[in-house]
């Protein structure tokens, strides 16, 4: 254009200045972006493979990994299937997991429908109450149930007094399944409720216009649309109940019912001379089961996500009126919340303040703080409380930061192995906690340069194992928050001259802070509640609340267990409340 007409000279032309475009050093053609991205990939790979590979290796070695020598063997597998009663264990597990899945769906689906889609007094309160498992671990719930409904429990004894018999037996597979279903129902509830909230309300209006009544609409329009979240949450609940340790351990031990997780626990910890080869084989078999469940789940989620993520225009669902049925629903829901969660937890708290807790004698006669004094007088118990706080405090910061980097690499970079980073960050979801514990135990035995002996039996070992367990949740909480930040903001920074790393630190870091804080709270609570990987990693020095409670429970010191459990719930509640206040304050600023 300048060749055709002479443009008028403007101030802009007079100070034509060329800034040098930014240069980033690339020794051997490798920039710092690449280094960081490969670093994250390598770190995650080592972290995730550390417990898996030694487990597989141990399953085919005839001596424990920490001993020299040893040769290839398949006896672990043959022993497992011929001698060890593994068939019965597998059957128990299948029964327990199926029953748990059925029961939790039976609780969750009707509840989600009536809460989200019908006019229900106090519906918001129910939605809030369904978050209780966030604060209470299934180990503590198990204690609470036993204290109230167990053979010598408060409620059982009362029922015995009044009716002359107790129609239930908690120490059985249905008993376990019921407790576990109460604990897991909220997971299924959240999936169904979200799907219901997002589905198009006009579908129902259309049915209504055609003359369908509320029940017909629910039966023929709403429930069929729920099929994907039901299938997905069923698989999720099933796989969680396969790996859970708490309830089967507490209920099954007195009556010798073993499932996968307690089988590993007993074989690995309670036998005098553990057969590590068979333990490895059992772990491998269980890993295969849970991993294939997750593969199915991932495939379904891909389809389910397509189904669920119909967002955009938010149509407020019209709520149907159920008439008298709504009172039935209210009774049903509050029965679940009160009998399932509130009563056991209240019982646990009561137990922590009494010496004797039975309906035969008013608990107020023996009100005491002695249980707490025992806890605070013992250095070991105080130490385990501190250990738990340190593990959760340090771990949550590290894990959240790792999750932010993993999401940045997986979703916000052009890194070639971004998908691999995402899968690695999510795999621990499918690894049973107890196998992570066993796996790291062996990994420390194998680790080069004596790193294993430095970590073995320390609190760092616990942080690593718990952190790995919490990583998928942290990733899942950070990813959507980061994806909400428009990609053009990154692009604008890149074109302006910032490389990937500088874009992150100069532009995105401030925007990601709320997501990071959210992940921090989540992982803190998860890691405070966690204990199953620690049972194989614990020593006198690194006991945490969960392992301490478990050993106190086996010693029959229920009062101290109740006191520790109450403390754990209290800490969680205070922490979440404080975090909520802090984050609210930040939003206003």
């Amino acid at each position: 254009m300048s060749t055709m007409t002479e443009p008028p000279r403007t101030p802009a032309d007079e100070r034509v200045q060329e800034f040098k475009p930014p240069r980033y050093r690339r020794p051997l053609g490798i920039g710092r972006d690449t280094v960081v991205q490969y670093g994250v990939l390598a770190f995650l790979a080592v972290l995730v493979l550390a417990p898996i590979v030694p487990t597989l290796y141990q399953s085919i070695r005839n001596r424990p990994l920490y001993e020299a020598g040893g040769a290839f063997t398949l006896s672990g597998y043959t022993d497992l299937f011929t001698e060890a009663g593994f068939g019965e264990v597998a059957l128990n597990t299948l029964l327990f997991a199926s029953l748990t899945t059925l029961l939790s769906l039976a609780i969750a689906i009707p509840m989600a429908i009536v809460v989200v889609r019908t006019k229900l007094p106090g519906g918001r309160l129910v939605a809030l109450a369904m978050q209780w498992p966030f604060f209470i671990s299934s180990l503590i719930l198990g204690f609470g149930w036993i204290i109230m409904y167990g053979p010598a429990g408060f409620v059982s004894v009362k029922v015995q007094q009044v009716f002359g018999g107790v129609p239930w037996n908690l120490y059985s597979i249905p008993g376990m399944a019921l407790t576990e279903a109460v604990a897991l129902a909220p997971i299924a509830y959240v999936f169904c409720a979200n799907a219901l909230r997002q589905s198009d309300a006009s579908l129902e209006s259309a049915a209504q216009v055609c003359g369908a009544g509320p029940l017909r609409i629910l039966g023929q329009v709403v429930v069929p649309l729920l099929r994907p979240p039901i299938v997905y949450s069923a698989i999720l609940v099933f796989s969680v109940s396969i790996e859970t340790l708490s309830v089967p351990l507490l209920y099954g031990q007195p009556v010798n019912i073993d499932v996968f997780s307690t089988f590993l626990y007993h074989k690995g910890l309670q036998s005098v001379d553990p057969d590590y080869t068979m333990l490895g084989a059992a772990s491998t078999v269980i890993l295969v089961v849970t991993l294939s469940l997750v593969a199915v789940q991932a495939k379904l989620l891909k389809d389910a996500a397509r189904f669920v993520s119909v967002r955009g225009k938010v149509t407020r669902p019209r709520r149907l009126d159920l008439g008298w049925l709504k009172w039935v629903s209210i009774v049903f829901i509050w029965f679940y919340v009160i009998v399932g969660a509130l009563v056991p937890i209240a019982g646990l708290v009561m137990r922590s303040f009494t010496l004797v807790f039975t309906p035969l004698q008013s608990p107020f006669k023996t009100v005491t703080t002695k249980n707490y004094e025992i806890v605070f007088d013992s250095d070991n118990y105080v130490q385990s409380l501190w250990n738990s706080l340190i593990v959760a405090g340090v771990g949550s910061v590290v894990v959240s930061a790792l999750a932010v980097f993993a999401v940045m690499v997986a979703r916000r970079s052009t890194f070639r192995w971004g998908r691999a980073v995402e899968y690695l960050a999510l795999i621990p979801q499918s690894l049973p906690g107890i196998i992570i514990g066993i796996g790291f135990f062996w990994a420390f035995a194998l680790a080069p340069f004596g790193m294993g002996s430095v970590l073995q039996g320390t609190i760092y070992a616990v942080i690593i194992a718990f952190g790995m367990r919490a990583l998928p949740s942290a990733f899942g909480s950070v990813a959507p928050a980061i994806m909400q930040i428009g990609g053009e903001l990154d692009n604008a920074a890149r074109v302006s001259g910032a490389d990937w790393l500088m874009t992150f630190f100069r532009v995105l870091r401030a925007l990601i802070t709320p997501a990071f804080a959210g992940a921090l709270v989540l992982t803190f609570v998860i890691m405070l509640k966690e204990y199953s990987p620690a049972v194989f990693l614990s020593s006198a020095d690194n006991n945490i609340l969960g392992t301490t409670m478990l050993s106190l429970w086996t010693q029959g010191r229920a009062g101290s267990v109740a006191a520790l459990a109450t403390l754990q719930i209290g800490i969680t509640a205070v922490f979440v409340a404080l975090a909520g206040l802090l984050m609210k304050g930040k939003h206003h600023a």
Binding site: M1, A12, K20, P21, G486, A492, R494, S496, G497, A510
Partner: protein, 375 residues
């Protein structure tokens, strides 16, 4: 000299090829527009220039400096290309003030604080927002945000300015004003500019040259005048402005004037063309609605091509009248200054006003349904 050269650019995602063999050169200081419907590959081309996407094949260089060459394995990341870019969403960093937004690229280039101040002030002054430097993006209107985004893209004197539909988020009235303003600014700065839009009017008004893209192919590059008057393909004629298409067959020739038998009505029309078209070939005749005239059937109008038609609908659209008339089994759109026509009318056009394309036009099924009437 920042001359942008794009050679044989291609991009595939898996089996899906979104860009095929795109080649063009942009002169220094030129305002060059990539025009096309969504999904035509125009944004991909722009992102390849910016370095936000990596082409599967081909090369791009600016001012002789290779940015990317898929064959030679050269790829300069976006941060080292020294380009300015304005995004559709403006992409102002929401947690920074306007001044901080402009300061970031200067910080990266290690410009001294004093100099930063004058540069930021000058850049904001250029877009008329110097007094808003302390504000945050969400405190500005859409039009102001768009100007800040432009100031941020210019503050570090980039070699080339890339604009990705920067006006599409403004409302219609403001968009027209912003268009005129942008044109003035670009001429004043004389910066080589690549502009992406799906709005043909915007493209015609702003550009020195336009590249029309469709389905990953670049089908014509030319000045706005060439694009509109001499479209290289029916698709260009259909996309830039409106156009009626008639299929037919060549039945005679007199110099550069062809006689064509129309399929829709069996009328014979005469059309001028410089191409050589063998007799009895199937062709498509294209005429823009404003080049057609309708006159009452009884009027003794002069004109080479006079076709008998009936008015289906007539509507007044402000400055002129728009008619749908029936020619055989086809609907023909006409823009005319003459109002109040109905019933039998005469459709008139000169041989030079129509174009002949040797390939048959395949209209989308939905559109052809709307333009066909049962007889």
């Amino acid at each position: 000299m920042p001359e942008v050269t794009v050679k044989n650019l291609a991009k595939t995602f898996g089996d899906n090829s979104v860009l095929r063999d795109v080649t063009f050169t942009i002169q220094d200081g030129e305002f060059f527009t990539l025009l096309g419907a969504s999904g035509c590959g125009k944004s991909t081309t722009l992102n390849c220039i910016a370095g936000l996407e990596q082409p599967t094949e081909g090369s791009i260089s600016v001012g002789g400096k290779p940015f990317v060459d898929a064959g030679a394995g050269v790829f300069l990341p976006p941060e080292e290309r020294n380009l300015g870019m304005v995004f559709q969403s403006y992409a102002l960093w929401p947690h920074m003030t306007i001044a901080k937004n402009l300061a970031l690229p200067l910080n990266i280039r290690k410009v001294s604080k004093d100099k930063q101040k004058t540069l930021i002030h000058d850049a904001l002054d250029k877009v008329g927002l110097a007094d808003l430097s302390g504000r945050y993006p969400h405190q500005l209107s859409g039009g102001q945000q768009q100007r800040v985004a432009l100031a941020r893209a210019l503050v570090y004197s980039p070699t080339v300015l890339l604009l990705d539909e920067p006006l599409s988020n403004l409302d219609a009235k403001l968009r027209e004003q912003a268009r005129a303003w942008l044109k003035r600014l670009q001429e004043e700065l004389g910066i080589t500019t690549v502009y992406v839009t799906h709005d043909q009017e915007e493209a015609l008004a702003l550009s020195d040259r336009i590249a029309v893209m469709e389905g990953g192919n670049m089908i014509q590059i030319g000045t706005p005048h060439e694009i509109y008057e001499r479209p290289a393909a029916p698709a260009v004629a259909a996309f830039v402005g409106r156009c009626n298409f008639f299929t037919g067959r060549v039945i005679g020739q007199d110099g550069n004037r062809y006689r064509i038998l129309l399929d829709c009505s069996a009328d014979v029309v005469e059309v001028e063309s410089d191409q050589h078209i063998p007799a009895s070939d199937s062709v498509t005749v294209a005429i823009r609605p404003e080049r057609l005239e309708v006159v009452p059937a009884t009027a003794a109008a002069s004109g080479v091509n006079r076709l008998k038609t009936q008015v289906i609908t007539g509507s007044y659209v402000g400055s002129r009248y728009e008619y749908d008339v029936r020619l055989g089994n086809q609907v023909v759109q006409v823009l005319s200054g003459r109002g109040g026509l109905a019933g039998e009318v005469m459709l008139v056009f000169e041989p030079a006003e129509a174009l002949i394309f040797e390939d048959r036009v395949e209209l989308p099924e939905e559109q052809s349904d709307l333009l066909t009437i049962g007889t």
